[in-house]
């Protein structure tokens, strides 16, 4: 599903954010990307989203090498992944329903499909009753659920979450992670970059740890730190 082969990324400033990364995340996996701030987590996410190009190495997504993917094809690659960010990135002047539907007409879904799909996804994330509310009327956790609904509404084969719980209190964070786990159980590959130690330890999922741009650990059912 996602495979990094000797991927390095050096920014134009000279900083080497990722050095020779090798890992493979299979279809249906749930993987945490952990590491301190500035360790290269975000760069890995950006490389997956093809927001950044690797300096060397190959990134294979859904069996296709994206290294030489034309710029004009990038949108179509992104349609196979849903993305969630720490800061939710909702549109403040659109309702919950519209924020989710927005992702659908970008991919030119039919109005009928949109009318059917949006309420379904909203109920999946537990926001059925809040479709007509605006983001500022929701709690942080609810806003992240909207973002999740938006990421899922086009049925992506994988979900990429960059610090999805960074702005949430521990309890809400746990709810969101459980939701991510549910989504994973329905067959979606989930990759979560985080430094929420408690959650990672508790969930016992695959952990890929990165430090100073180097992948130092890749363990099945691991904790945040190697000794756990």
């Amino acid at each position: 599903m996602i495979e990094f082969r000797n991927v390095s990324k050096t920014y134009s400033t000279g900083t080497e954010a990722v050095h020779c990364a090798n890992f493979k995340i299979n279809k249906g996996d749930f993987a945490f990307l952990v590491g301190a701030s500035g360790s290269g987590k975000s760069t890995l996410i950006k490389l997956i989203l093809k927001e950044e190009e690797p300096t060397s190495g190959n990134i294979i997504i859904n069996g296709k090498d994206t290294t030489f993917l034309k710029k004009s094809r990038v949108p179509y690659l992104r349609r196979s992944m849903g993305v969630v960010f720490q800061d939710f990135r909702l549109l403040p002047d659109k309702t919950v329903y519209e924020n989710v539907a927005f992702a659908m007409y970008i991919v030119r879904a039919t109005p009928r499909h949109i009318r059917r799909q949006v309420p379904m996804v909203l109920s999946l994330v537990g926001l059925s009753g809040k479709a007509k509310m605006y983001p500022n009327e929701l709690s942080g956790g609810e806003q992240q659920r909207v973002a999740l609904a938006r990421a899922l509404v086009n049925n992506p084969s994988m979900l990429i979450a960059d610090e999805p719980t960074g702005n949430l209190d521990p309890e809400t964070a746990w709810d969101i992670m459980t939701l991510l786990d549910d989504i994973n159980k329905r067959g979606t590959t989930v990759v979560v970059a985080t430094h929420a130690k408690d959650i990672v330890d508790k969930m016992k999922k695959r952990v890929i740890q990165i430090d100073k741009g180097i992948i130092i650990r890749d363990s099945e059912k691991g904790g945040y730190n190697s000794e756990v």
Binding site: P75, R89, A103, Y105, I106, R108, R150
Partner: protein, 297 residues
């Protein structure tokens, strides 16, 4: 919210246009001023052209033939005139007809010239294929035998040709300058909208929107500013032109000179086409320019 894709893209464009009232207004103002200045020069140019054509048709060159020229001489002169390049029509005017013309011109007082009949020579009336060649033709005709005198509006024509050419150049230069200026201003206006919506654009990119999908609302915004400016400009230009020509036509000098103006309806098609091309073109170019940076996500 509408879920029809074209409706959505156009709707977003409209919304943007009216959301940023101040920048939209300033962009429209600049566009209108540009278009008005262009319109002004275009109209002046068209009218001078029109006047020149009138002059061209009415004021041909009259070549008077020596009084002592024989019929063969006259015939020979005609043959020679025919070989000169730049002449479209040669018409013989006999002394009798010529005199009759004069009498007609003097109207009530034609008796005054009765005694001059014998001094009126035969003549040829020459029309030019192109006014610009009139000077050249004049020089060649002068050299021919039996040519007594030539009357022509040569100097006036020369000046008119120069003025029209000058105006055409100025119009083009102004047009080029204004187009460049307007593009930058539109680009700036749309940059504001793009900036205000950069978050939305980045979300769209992450969800997998193609660049063209993101671009359309902004292009619609640019086009809309252009089209509205074009409509406002054409109304102002049309109104002012009508006022100006009505005013001028009622003045005695203009009436005496027999000058007429091109009706606005005749120029309308040209102006509206140029305005719309300018408006839409500038809008599209300006918005594409302002978008480039924000599409790199």
């Amino acid at each position: 919210m509408k879920f029809n894709i074209v409706g959505y893209l156009i709707g977003e464009g409209f919304k943007n246009t009216f959301k940023n009232k101040k920048s939209t207004f300033s962009a429209m103002l600049v566009m209108c001023i540009s278009m008005l200045i262009f319109g002004l020069f275009f109209i002046i140019g068209e009218n001078i052209n029109h006047i020149m054509q009138t002059v061209e048709n009415a004021q041909a060159m009259q070549v008077f033939i020596n009084l002592d020229a024989t019929d063969e001489d006259i015939q020979k002169l005609e043959e020679e005139l025919k070989t000169i390049e730049g002449i479209s029509k040669i018409e013989f005017l006999s002394k009798e007809d010529g005199f009759a013309d004069y009498k007609e011109k003097y109207g009530d007082r034609s008796y005054l010239i009765d005694s001059y009949e014998e001094f009126i020579p035969d003549s040829y009336i020459i029309n030019f294929t192109d006014l610009k060649l009139s000077g050249q033709v004049l020089e060649q005709v002068k050299k021919l035998d039996n040519v007594k005198e030539i009357t022509s509006a040569n100097e006036v024509m020369d000046k008119l040709v120069k003025v029209t050419n000058g105006i055409r150049m100025v119009t083009l230069l102004i047009l080029a300058g204004l187009v460049i200026g307007a593009i930058f201003i539109i680009a700036n206006t749309i940059k504001l909208t793009v900036y205000a919506r950069r978050k939305e654009i980045s979300i769209m990119k992450y969800v997998g929107a193609t660049n063209s999908f993101i671009r359309w609302p902004f292009i619609v915004e640019g086009m809309l500013i252009g089209i509205i400016s074009a409509c406002i400009s054409i109304l102002i230009v049309g109104g002012l032109y009508r006022l100006a020509t009505n005013g001028l036509l009622s003045s005695a000098t203009i009436q005496n000179l027999g000058i007429t103006f091109v009706s606005f309806a005749d120029m309308f098609n040209m102006i509206i086409i140029v305005y719309l091309i300018l408006g839409i073109g500038i809008g599209v170019l300006g918005s594409s320019m302002s978008m480039r940076k924000y599409l790199e996500v």
